[in-house]
């Protein structure tokens, strides 16, 4: 049984169609395990009127059809699910993500090295050594928030974002790492580029990464990167 913080879970009504269930206010494996527990319980046994669940770091937004049910009934249904589902679901598969750290594909590597007192290779070694798992997906299609960046290379985000950061960029901030899927502005540190396709078009499995999956970064050189991007 996981220990639950005082006053959690909390239930907050959202407009006429959702309840936000909060399990805590920090980013931790223990809290995220409770998120995954409710998420998998809902997908195994959805209540009448359930439409969609959106797991995040420390909360699950549970969306419902206001014609079929209401906030109070949904809260009761979730409370029942939490009582009957005490097992944390097992982790998903470990997915391999290729990354090239060479030259201009890791434009912030030198700055990260300077800020952490490591060499460029030291930053790369630390990044590859991290044990990553997907805590949530969000912001934009296929953006998987990976927790597990080692303490030695954790930096706060930059004061202002850089525009036009290309898809496939491997970016870090604090304990988090993301492989981007669209060209977007970001204030995170750009340390490499991945040719691994994350956005798919299969409706049943549209994205490489889902909440609970592990991620292992494998280093490739520039030639392998160019070959892989030419193929996709």
């Amino acid at each position: 049984m996981t220990s639950e913080g005082a006053g959690f879970p909390r239930y907050r009504p959202v407009a006429d169609h959702a309840v936000l269930v909060e399990f805590g206010e920090t980013i931790s494996h223990e809290i995220n395990d409770q998120v995954r527990r409710l998420d998998s319980a809902l997908s195994a046994a959805p209540f009448d009127g359930f439409t969609e669940a959106i797991p995040a770091y420390a909360s699950v937004l549970v969306d419902f059809d206001p014609i079929a049910t209401d906030h109070q009934a949904v809260q009761r249904a979730i409370e029942r699910l939490l009582v009957t589902n005490t097992q944390t679901p097992s982790k998903g598969p470990v997915r391999e993500v290729l990354v090239c750290y060479d030259g201009e594909l890791g434009p912030d590597l030198d700055q990260v090295a300077a800020a952490t007192g490591l060499s460029r290779d030291g930053v790369i070694a630390a990044h590859m050594a991290g044990e990553y798992s997907v805590f949530m997906c969000g912001f934009a299609p296929g953006y998987a928030y990976l927790a597990g960046v080692p303490g030695a290379i954790q930096l706060p985000r930059k004061p202002s974002p850089i525009r036009g950061v290309p898809a496939g960029s491997v970016i870090i901030a604090g304990p988090q790492c993301i492989v981007t899927t669209l060209t977007m502005p970001t204030g995170w540190w750009r340390i490499g580029r991945s040719p691994t396709p994350i956005l798919g078009s299969d409706e049943k499995r549209p994205f490489l990464l889902d909440v609970g999956d592990g991620v292992k970064f494998s280093r490739i050189d520039r030639r392998a990167f160019d070959t892989a991007t030419a193929r996709s």
Binding site: P13, A15, E25, Y57, S59, M136, A140, M184
Partner: protein, 329 residues
């Protein structure tokens, strides 16, 4: 089967292909997308008697001009109060009409509204992504933005002369400046005075308005305390307040998660009416209880279903309406 083709001769920004949208993928970072004004879109389809919902064109205030170069097809327009003309003859903003080869359709902003829908009696050919032709504006995935010179092809094009004529515009499809909200889910980050300002002072829409959301001008809603909440889910209608105290109402192509507090959330029945406002229009927010919001959703759904049933019944299958509503809302 017959087909019809159009060439895009003029088009403004933010004109895109939309269908009912893609649901159930927010857990992967994918918002629903689909029409900004789902009500106008549904009405245009019902007026045309469409029993399935094909891809359609969402027209922004940038406007659109098309020339029919091949075939004939009946079209419907509904959504905002735009100026609509076929060749030189103007007709109502909300109408069903038939276009033949050689005819030119012009749609420009009119007295009210920010979005209007051009729906065809046939299947507009469009790229799909994850089962939907709805355009996700940030990525361009789905049917995509409409470009000048583009050729639009309608397969299974039908002429439905019996459906031609004006479409009535019901009260629930018109712009609304008093918006009902349920406070939260992160209203705890705001002082009582700030909540009071949200509910008692007017805000206005700014020019920072696109399919992702619209930033509001008005009193500053500065959050108190440390903003250290981990990112959590956002819904369509969330009023998110950035660190500078400026609120943004998130819309069809919203980001699915965010770390800024959401002070309140607009109820679903008022959102379609809100998006038909324009920049510099004023709005006021009215706080209602979650129970009152559920009741409002029921009332809204009833008047909506009744209206669509009547529109469909002009000619067509009344059983269509239930599935149509389920697909659209």
């Amino acid at each position: 089967m017959a087909s019809a083709s159009f060439i895009v001769t003029q088009v403004g920004p933010h004109v895109s292909i939309q269908d009912s949208g893609r649901r159930g993928l927010m857990r992967f970072g994918v918002p629903e997308s689909g029409p900004m004004d789902r009500t106008g879109f549904a009405i245009a389809n019902a007026a045309l008697g469409n029993t399935t919902i094909p891809p359609a064109i969402e027209i922004s205030m940038g406007g659109l001009q098309l020339e029919c170069v091949d075939g004939s097809v009946t079209i419907a327009l509904a959504g905002g109060g735009f100026q609509v003309a076929i060749d030189r003859s103007a007709f109502g903003s909300w109408a069903v009409a038939t276009m033949h080869a050689g005819a030119r359709l012009t749609v420009k902003p009119g007295p009210w509204g920010s979005w209007t829908y051009l729906v065809f009696a046939g299947d507009l050919q469009a790229n799909r992504w994850l089962g939907s032709a709805a355009t996700h504006s940030q990525s361009g995935f789905g049917g995509g933005q409409i470009a000048k010179g583009q050729r639009l092809v309608i397969e299974n094009a039908e002429v439905r002369g019996e459906r031609c004529g004006p479409i009535p515009c019901p009260v629930f499809a018109r712009p609304r400046t008093s918006l009902r909200v349920v406070l939260g889910p992160q209203d705890r980050f705001f002082a009582p005075d700030t909540i009071h300002a949200l509910l008692w002072q007017p805000f206005s829409l700014t020019d920072a308005y696109d399919r992702m959301g619209v930033r509001l001008a008005g009193p500053t809603l500065r959050p108190v305390g440390k903003l250290d909440m981990p990112s959590e889910a956002i819904v369509r209608g969330s009023i998110q307040v950035a660190g500078d105290g400026r609120p943004t109402v998130l819309l069809a192509d919203h980001q699915t998660t965010g770390g800024y507090p959401k002070i309140a959330t607009v109820i679903s029945g008022d959102l379609d009416r809100f998006v038909q406002l324009r920049s510099r229009n004023q709005v006021v927010f009215e706080s209602i209880s979650p129970e009152a919001a559920i009741e409002a959703a029921g009332n809204h759904r009833r008047s909506y279903e009744q209206f669509l049933t009547r529109l469909m019944a002009r000619r067509g299958d009344p059983n269509f309406v239930r599935s149509h509503v389920a697909e659209t809302l």
